[in-house]
Symmetry: C2
Subunit: 243 residues, 2 copies
Amino acid sequence: MTYCVGLRLDKGLVFMSDTRTNSGVDNISQFKKLFTWSIPGERVLTIMTSGNLATTQTVISMIDERAKAPEDRSPSILEAPSMFEVARQVGEMLREVILTSSPTGMRADSTFDATIMLGGQIRGGEPRLFLIYPEGNFLEASEDTPFFQIGETKYGRPIILRAFDPAMSFEDAVKLLLVSFDSTVKANLSVGLPLDLMTYETDSFQVGHTRRIKADDPYYMAVSEGWGDALKKAFNELPDFRF
Amino acid sequence: MTYCVGLRLDKGLVFMSDTRTNSGVDNISQFKKLFTWSIPGERVLTIMTSGNLATTQTVISMIDERAKAPEDRSPSILEAPSMFEVARQVGEMLREVILTSSPTGMRADSTFDATIMLGGQIRGGEPRLFLIYPEGNFLEASEDTPFFQIGETKYGRPIILRAFDPAMSFEDAVKLLLVSFDSTVKANLSVGLPLDLMTYETDSFQVGHTRRIKADDPYYMAVSEGWGDALKKAFNELPDFRF
């Protein structure tokens, strides 16, 4: 499994992904799931992937190939005029890869399924965040739904629902994401550290902070340990129940 | 969907279940999922159900019929000599109902699947808590795993992992369960109030507190609102992240 979260803040976008890939519980590997393409000053595009690794790696390679070979007949996401068009192209590639892999065509429960999150900004437009389904269609984050999660989303959702605020700083957003990831890692073996982090500041048109957070990262450890105590304290402060 | 939790405390057992049943999102009903049979002074047996409603209702009816008709050739759970034997009987009934309903026999993804939690105490034994699978086999809660969840378990799991303590009082256990249920209800439409609560005190051999907690229950509302603030406060108290 996988856990990735993309936040749409007033200040820009924040992406975090884990790096664990497993086939069963005894075939665990570490793979990058956060990828960035940029033309500094003009566009920054970030993709996070969940689902079948063969599918997502193929999609990423296709994007890379097309980004490198402008003579390719298929348009490159580095040339697409808008984020919407990038989402459409990535969705099309994803759909194509899944269709090709599944001998019986696309089914709702295809084992070759994958879901992709795409965020970024192209000069002339706003920063946008998309959730792209295996079928190639997609949703866009809005004021009502200012974040997306993919993969093993449930354990870490309640804290985001409660504490997310679009006006928060990048630093607070990272703190929130670490709490959400820590709750997930503690509950589910298929999500694991290190975590990849990237921020994008609106209208900067360049990659912001990037960091790989390892299991022995002092701040992660402080959050992980502190959150247990903080939760217990919060729990104790709630009014007591009486029969 | 459904959400049910059974806790094995030093003091006894605590059960909580929601009451929402849905088939899709537009066919929502309220059904009891917590059932108790007892012979005061001798045994108390509690069952919570999740999964296909036709399956679980049939199992409950079979238990009722057999409990009422002692001449029935099948043994009744009220006569079984041990909790283990009760678990075996309930597992057998569950398996039988699913097998009968599925024209092609039992499959891992049968739509007639259901999972049952069974807890209680029979004089001469300890209080025990079992998780019974659609296949009829079962797990027992132990010191290492002193609680079970069935249904929509993920949203409400992190807080139980962090705050559960077998030495806690029934009152604190109810508070913990309400926080866990509230996180689930806020994140998932298929789990809904009212909640059914039951406690069983070790060696009492009688049903303890039972309560139906409705959405307008003042304590539930206090927990639900207070938890959001408490979480935000806990979050703010964590050390700040710096790039």
